[in-house]
């Protein structure tokens, strides 16, 4: 049946392939022109509220959507996005421990390169690594995190958004809807292992239409948490070289021409100096690698509702990223290794959607962006200094019937590269269709059945292509397909228990031409090859209970569970054929309960993961043990004066003092705590 559905696409693909270069130019310029022309028209209709500040958690949507709100974020997380998304089902966070350790997020076994990240509506990316390190994004300034798996049912988004297997949308904390004077939030946190984190936010208005927000934080963590050594002595050692120091500063400007015509500008500054602790090597102990990272960007986003049927969105962004990596003990150099990488991205985006009738909406969007990477170091081998030109265009049609909603979209992905030396990567031009369907069989809308399909590519990253001695410019993009079939039900009750919902989704993902690092001739020389094939399937389930806020009391319980089989099907003759991919637990999940009683807020949360294998062979030698952690949170909301409120809190993490590993030989912190205070002025 799916094939039948896809048949018309095949013809289109064949046609488009033939004329691809014209089509990109055409679609891109059309989208841009259309959007700009339309945007310049004067408003003809009364102002309509553009987007509700309060997001609607539409669990009955055609694709699975999971949300963490601000009140949940502050209760569960250790301060960064990677720690927070562990509470979503289907999400696997590879956590190398500590604040400075790398944290990558993959959704449903698709690999971290398939997870897109939107920050206030525009994508953030890292063309060098091909994946965003979510450990370095703080949750302190976020009001919510949403995770979409599959084709997103919103047609007014940058074209890039439709290219990913899963999208994490991060929304920064906005000022209260209608404030009149200056609002400030001051906060200070401290905790175990030399952690201190002051932050401040100030929001103010100039004139009637201009809202400013300045938000900044400083973080220092010694990170030298204790762990039991792996040798048989039972001694306790402290983690070395895990210190981190970051400074983040954000400025947001929001200009509301009218309620339905808003311009948002965001400037972001981030600077970090940290150790890279590395895995524990038994019988030796040496870790002195350092990383200095600077990431700045400025982005503008203009969204306008032209009339009750048409909306346009224009976006632009410039991103600068600098990494200085030092390894004084690098054995292949007489005086250590020092790499400097400078990465830039220039990005423009245009999108529009239009309601054709009460039944149909169409949307188009186009992105054009340029990525470049330069390296400076003592290596004698010349660096390719690649520049990548990307065009992405997306078109989709949506039908929103009373009982059936459907969407069909197609994404055109084009990429071309230039290099200073050596071979450039192959150009990429691919068409990727996506379909989704939801059906509410009953009158009361409380139950929805859904089905979606999406095909995707993951182009090789700069590291895959050009990394010294390892990179391979002959790489093709990875190709993936995902299917999702699910059921979602919600019930709204009249009593104290207000809301109960359950979602169960089954999925199947297939990845072809997966890019893997393979040693060439010995373990010190690797190369990247398109040799992997993955067949993954699983079930994600979520349960949520929420009560009303009655008599100053409120309670909420959220349970997430994931079952995941992720099989290596690369080579029929290999020992590893149909074995579970390394670091993929079959069972994992989270639970979180929270309670508000008058001024007191209490939360308990837990995470668990079944055992995993660190390498392909499913033998006891490779087992990384199952683990579970429990965290507690307690806060009190107090009012100091009429205008000043404060909220002291304490959170206890890993209260069972478990020593566990997410990645073998990267011990995770045992019991630790955080405490702090937020003051609202």
């Amino acid at each position: 049946m799916l094939l039948l559905l896809l048949h018309p696409f095949v013809n289109i693909i064949l046609f488009l392939k033939k004329h691809f270069s014209y089509i990109i130019l055409l679609t891109f310029s059309c989208t841009v022109c259309y959007s700009i022309c339309m945007a310049q028209k004067t408003d003809t209709l009364p102002n309509v509220k553009l987007h509700s500040k309060k997001p609607i958690h539409n669990i009955l949507a055609q694709v699975p959507v999971q949300i963490l709100q601000k009140n949940e974020l502050e209760k569960i997380s250790n301060n960064n996005v990677a720690d927070a998304v562990k509470y979503f089902s289907g999400v696997l966070v590879k956590d190398y421990g500590g604040l400075g350790g790398l944290k990558t997020v993959s959704v449903r076994s698709l690999g971290a390169g398939y997870t897109g990240v939107l920050y206030d509506g525009l994508p953030i990316s890292d063309a060098q690594a091909g994946q965003v390190d979510l450990g370095k994004i703080s949750t302190r300034q976020l009001s919510q995190i949403q995770l979409y798996s599959g084709p997103i049912n919103n047609l007014l988004l940058p074209a890039r958004t439709y290219a990913y297997g899963a999208v994490l949308a991060l929304q920064s904390r906005e000022a209260a809807d209608s404030f009149t004077k200056t609002q400030s939030i001051l906060s200070l946190q401290g905790g175990s292992f030399g952690f201190i984190n002051p932050a401040a936010q100030i929001s103010f208005k100039t004139g009637n239409k201009l809202i400013h927000r300045i938000n900044g934080s400083y973080l220092y963590s010694q990170g030298d948490y204790p762990f039991k050594v792996y040798e048989n002595t039972g001694a306790i050692q402290r983690r070395q070289n895990d210190d981190m120091q970051t400074t983040r500063l954000e400025y947001d400007l929001q200009y509301a021409f009218s309620d339905s015509n808003t311009l948002q500008i965001k400037a972001y500054y981030y600077q970090a100096t940290q150790g890279i602790p590395g895995g524990v090597i038994i019988y030796t102990n040496n870790s002195r690698q350092r990383l200095y990272n600077k990431n700045d960007f400025i982005q503008a986003r203009w969204q306008k509702k032209l009339n009750s049927n048409t909306r346009v969105l224009l976006g632009a962004k410039y991103n600068y990223d600098y990494k200085l990596y030092r390894d004084p003990d690098f054995i292949y150099s007489s005086d250590g290794l020092e790499n400097k990488y400078r990465q830039q991205e220039m990005y423009v985006s245009a999108a529009a959607d239009k309601k054709l009738s009460s039944l149909f909406t169409i949307g188009i969007s186009s992105d054009y962006f340029i990525n470049s990477l330069q390296r400076k170091d003592k290596l004698t081998t010349p660096f390719a200094s690649p520049v990548r030109y990307n065009w992405l265009s997306h078109a989709a049609v949506q039908s929103h019937g009373k009982k059936i909603q459907a969407q069909a979209g197609i994404l055109y992905y084009h990429q071309q590269e230039k290099v200073k030396t050596g071979n450039a990567a192959r150009p990429v031009h691919k068409l990727n269709p996506a379909l989704s369907l939801a059906w509410q069989p009953f009158q009361d809308d409380g139950l929805s059945l859904r089905l979606s399909y999406k095909s995707m590519i993951r182009p090789p990253s700069f590291d895959d292509l050009y990394y010294t001695l390892v990179g391979n410019t002959a790489l093709r993009p990875e190709q993936s397909q995902q299917w999702n079939m699910g059921i979602a039900g919600k019930k709204i009750f009249p009593g104290f228990l207000q809301w109960a919902s359950l979602t169960v989704d089954m999925y199947e993902n297939r990845v072809r031409d997966k890019i893997l690092a393979v040693p060439r001739q010995n373990l010190f020389q690797w190369t990247m090859l398109n040799i992997g094939k993955v067949h993954a399937y699983g079930v994600d389930a979520g349960l949520l209970f929420k009560t009303k806020y009655i008599d100053a009391k409120m309670a909420q319980l959220r349970i997430q569970y994931s079952y995941q089989k992720s099989l290596d099907v690369s080579d029929k003759n290999s020992n590893l054929y149909k074995t579970q991919l390394p670091y993929t637990p079959v069972h994992s999940g989270s639970i979180m309960g929270q309670l508000t009683v008058h001024q007191w807020e209490f939360a308990a949360s837990g995470l668990f993961s079944s055992y995993r294998y660190r390498l392909g062979d499913p033998v006891p030698d490779n087992i990384v043990k199952e683990w579970a952690t429990i965290d507690l949170y307690l806060a009190y909301s107090g009012v100091l004066t009429k205008n000043i409120s404060c909220k002291p809190f304490i959170s206890l993490h890993n209260i069972l003092n478990q020593q566990y590993e997410v990645v073998r030989f990267y011990p995770m912190p045992r019991f630790h705590y955080r405490m702090g205070i937020n003051v609202n002025l």
Binding site: Y283, N286, I331, Y332, K378, T381, L615
Partner: protein
């Protein structure tokens, strides 16, 4: 990549038995092999080096023999075992990333001692390969030194500076020869160092070819050096050097990684972009006596090391397969026909083999 020096060592023992004053009594190294010690390097950073023992008569492999015999070391040997050397009744295991040398009793598999490899500043030296001469085990290290371990006290008594990333080492003609592969950040080294094992000094440094790694010696005073090239403009080469005149007598541009000398031929594995098959090369002109040593079609995926049993001329090839799952050791007869094979599970990347007789 690195050679097993068994044969050369065997030779040394024979030669030295007559000239050395205070050699250690060693169990007999003759007769048919009863067992094989197989060192599986493991994966970088995984602390999963495994020493396995294969019982030839019962066709049985104990994959984690070291940990089984040494409950005090439940996690085993540590990270990235690079070399295995049997000498004077002791088995030396060179642990590269864990940066030490483990010494065990080859009969019981039990711990005797471990020797830490640290610089004066306490940093790891990353030892690579070992060769025996007289009362010493000479070990190359990536920091550009050759350390001499006294086989009686099991202490490092001397450290001789050579080139950076010193890699292969072989004893021949009363000297030690060390390949200096050099840091890739500065385009690799091209030399070998000659060490006088009596006063522990470097006597010569000879240019042989870009990125020299593998090294082997014959019984007529020649050594063979496998140069990897720089993987870009400088191609690989195979070099023959006469140790009496210290002159190069033959250079060919054939790509090799591991080279082993036995009975008038070189057994070679293909290096970077080299032949996928184990080859047998003429020591006169490096032409291929057989372009594929395996004659019965036995499929090898990633030949990783090659070891010859001089007693019965069996050729053992360690296959690393996909480098992340268990490898396999194949035993071939001298004509390249498979005799038996066994999985090295849980050992990943099997490489060095030592015979127990």
């Amino acid at each position: 990549m690195k050679k097993n020096h068994l044969f050369a060592i065997g030779l040394c023992i024979l030669i030295l038995a007559s000239c050395s004053k205070n050699e250690i009594p060693a169990p007999p190294q003759s007769g048919p092999a009863k067992g094989l010690y197989v060192l599986s390097e493991g994966s970088f950073g995984q602390n999963n080096t495994r020493l396995g023992l294969y019982d030839i008569n019962n066709n049985q492999f104990t994959g984690n023999y070291f940990a089984q015999q040494n409950p005090a070391f439940p996690l085993g040997l540590g990270d990235t075992g690079n070399d295995l050397l049997l000498y004077g009744g002791k088995l030396y295991i060179v642990m590269n990333v864990s940066s030490y040398v483990m010494v065990i009793n080859p009969v019981t598999g039990k711990f005797i001692d471990s020797i830490s490899f640290r610089t004066g500043a306490g940093l790891p030296k990353y030892p690579r390969n070992a060769a025996a001469y007289g009362n010493y085990i000479f070990v190359t290290s990536s920091d550009g030194t050759v350390s001499a371990i006294d086989t009686l006290s099991l202490a490092i008594t001397h450290s001789t500076p050579v080139g950076l990333n010193a890699d292969g080492i072989v004893a021949a003609n009363d000297k030690l020869y060390v390949t200096n592969s050099g840091p890739f950040t500065s385009g690799y080294d091209s030399t070998i160092s000659v060490i006088n094992p009596y006063n522990f000094t470097e006597t010569e440094r000879i240019v042989v070819g870009k990125n020299p790694v593998g090294i082997a010696a014959d019984e007529s005073g020649n050594i063979y050096i496998s140069c990897q090239g720089d993987y870009a403009t400088h191609g690989p080469s195979l070099v023959k050097l006469n140790t009496a005149s210290l002159s190069i007598t033959k250079i060919a541009d054939t790509a090799t990684s591991v080279i082993k000398y036995f009975n008038g031929s070189l057994y070679a594995l293909g290096g970077f972009l080299g032949s996928p098959h184990p080859r047998k090369l003429s020591i006169v002109d490096f032409s291929a006596q057989s372009a594929n040593f395996i004659t019965d079609g036995t499929p090898l995926i990633s030949p990783y090391n090659i070891t010859i049993d001089p007693q019965n001329e069996n050729v053992y090839i360690a296959d690393a397969k996909d480098y992340v799952s268990a490898g396999e050791v194949f035993c071939f007869d001298k004509n390249g026909k498979k005799k038996f094979s066994f999985s090295t599970s849980p050992g990943v990347n099997p490489s060095k083999i030592v015979f127990i007789r």
